[in-house]
Point group: C2
Chain length 404, copies 2
């Protein structure tokens, strides 16, 4: 099987020819199809999506629906942003309803000038905006197992990309005057379980910020309204939601979510902890598990790539199970730590194809194969899977996982 | 009155000092404020905003709510995107409910190969993604009058910025094989009034595309679901919604919306027509009309700038009624024809200030004053106002229009 990637303009046009085959309806017939005879709906204060659009987050059935994960439908994604309504969720005691007029952020512990800030205080400070991925440390946990999740939503959908707006954390820490000897910041949320994580002071003083805006409006409740810690490139869990306390200390707290959870049990039985950084990763969203390629012809093969270390420099595609690789086209602008959409015209010739993508980021880091990852990390791990994802396109067009 | 723009790190920190003044609550008191004692809401399939968020589009009361405009609440905007739910609307016969499985796009007229395409046909073609402003040709129409709209929503809110995804129009036109002699494309929508506009073929063959995606999901019904013509930098009305027909012709149709509407009656009594391009523009969103600056101190003055001609290169701020101007800081990345957020720390000293912004784009075009615009265009115009917007901040902090 020889992979076939149309590259010339003529080839691309054949995609059109393939897609547009068949008889043209008469002009009158075609124009009449969708023309309503009556006035449409009135203008409104706050809009909704079309009733024909059905994409939703997926979650496991549970007797405790306040805790768990819900997954972004990446198979339905277009472009590089995730609609806030479909941003993945991962909660430990439900989504609190917080009145922003009563919310306060306290900065305390090893500081000379403890602060208690209202949201109004925070919103009048200099602001920053960054479009970035947020990815759960447990995204793709299913991929460590021999039987993996059946589609891209359930296997890679704990990652979403938004435009975040907020206030620089270094600015606030300068105002609080951190005492010599402080080396950690304990971030705590205002949810019922008071979810907390220990953040190295060096990260807090580097590029951390406190987000109150998401995709042009206030942060959504499920993403931490009214305030969330944002740590560019670090696992979602450390980006504490409903942030109400930052405590400066000289040691980490060894909280539940950095010891028994979100740490990596290695083959030698020791655990890697404080492994916050999410490495380069990519996945094909079309064609992907559960979808069907309608028939032979040319299609746009597409997917998403991202890295917690910076920009995506290259995404390669294989359609022959990893024997040969071809560079995909990357959507510009490629923003650091943001989703980068990749695309490649692909001719499906009606014979089985095994497809995958692999990303390289600006540091030169190449997304590993599952085998290479397992060779280092073993299979005790739950978190931080960033291996390649292979899909099998059968001769009849049905797409499914490749058994590992 | 000497304008005061803090620039040093020490000055910026004083913003903190000002905002964070007052006694720190006890740590226990502050932490207790917002900590709920019970489990929060469960995870859900499709999220909503917080019930505390109230921003909505504004529209004039009307007996025909299917026609008219609704305005984006720019005063509440953060970052550079507009939430799809708050994107401005301008409809002529309401929002049709279109089943994408039945919708077709017909390309006909002066072509050798007429096409009738389903949405599935269109979605398998090579796609492009661009973050761009859409601005109604009638945005800021109120600013031509002596008594202008009272706030930034009603005076500048017919402009919104989204990430759009779709298919290149030149690709489709190549497939349809446009005949020699064709020079216009008549674009028609599937709304009840079959809104139509004449588009020069040169624009269609330059950078036009057909959008089916907006902000990572399907286009919203109010923005043309399932398909909208997108003409980068051109007035919203020409970006025909619910697009179902593109007819190639050798002359324009002289449709209602390019003759009696969306044309510019000049001082000499002649009308400028086919004036599609939206020029460089900016406006301060905080502080802006109807808002109140709580008291003397340092604030972040902020707003939005954009140009139909390309990137924003510079935004200048005055706080002394135009006597002196200072460069604002521009949010990166500055994308062509997209909202660019500008920001400047500003010290309000409790004395009246008259503030405005002016933008320069990458072509060197400088946003004119209202007076300079009127000198050329007169006051017969309704459309294409891009003059500077001055706000008066009174000594008590109340912000309003400056009478012209």
């Amino acid at each position: 099987m020889k992979p076939s990637f149309p590259t010339s303009r003529r080839d691309i046009l054949r995609m059109g020819a393939a897609a547009m085959g068949g008889t043209l309806l008469s002009e009158q017939e075609a124009l009449a199809l969708d023309t309503p005879g009556t006035l449409g709906a009135p203008l409104g204060p706050y809009g909704d999506r079309s009733p024909f659009e059905k994409a939703v987050r997926w979650r496991r059935e549970s007797k405790t629906p306040e805790t768990g994960s819900s997954f972004t439908p990446l198979q339905d994604s277009v472009g590089t942003l995730t609609p806030s309504s479909l941003h993945y969720e991962r909660h430990h005691s439900g989504i609190p309803t917080i009145d922003p007029a009563r919310h306060r952020l306290v900065i305390h512990g090893m500081v000379d000038r403890p602060l208690s800030l209202s949201m109004a205080d925070i919103r009048r400070l200099p602001s920053v905006t960054r479009t970035m991925v947020l990815e759960c440390g447990g995204n793709s946990a299913s991929e460590w197992a021999a039987t993996t999740a059946p589609d891209v939503q359930r296997s890679f959908g704990l990652a979403s990309c938004s435009e975040w707006t907020g206030v620089s954390l270094p600015l606030l820490l300068a105002e609080a005057r951190v005492r010599p000897g402080a080396s950690w910041v304990i971030a705590e949320g205002a949810d019922a379980c008071r979810m907390e994580r220990s953040i190295p002071l060096a990260k807090a003083l580097d590029d951390a910020f406190l987000a109150y805006g998401q995709n042009g409006e206030a942060l959504r409740p499920a993403q931490g309204y009214p305030l969330r810690l944002r740590l560019p490139g670090w696992e979602g869990n450390a980006n504490v939601k409903w942030l109400h306390s930052l405590k400066l200390t000289d040691q980490p707290y060894m909280a539940r979510d950095e010891t028994s959870k979100y740490s990596d049990l290695m083959p030698d039985g020791k655990a890697r902890i404080f492994s916050y950084r999410m490495e380069a990763k990519s996945v094909i969203t079309f064609p992907s598990g559960g979808q069907t390629v309608p028939g032979p012809g040319v299609y746009e093969l597409t997917g998403l790539a991202w890295s917690g270390l910076g920009r995506i420099e290259r995404v390669e595609i294989t359609t022959d199970g990893g024997k040969t690789w071809t560079n995909a086209k990357l959507q510009e602008p490629r923003l650091p730590i943001a989703f980068t959409r990749f695309r490649l015209p692909w001719r499906f010739d009606g014979r089985e194809a095994v497809i995958a993508s692999r990303a390289t980021d600006e540091t030169g880091y190449l997304q590993p194969s599952r085998e290479a990852l397992v060779a280092v990390r073993g299979t005790n791990s739950v978190y931080h899977f960033n291996g390649m994802k292979f899909w099998r396109v059968r001769a009849d067009g049905a797409v499914s996982n490749v058994e590992v």
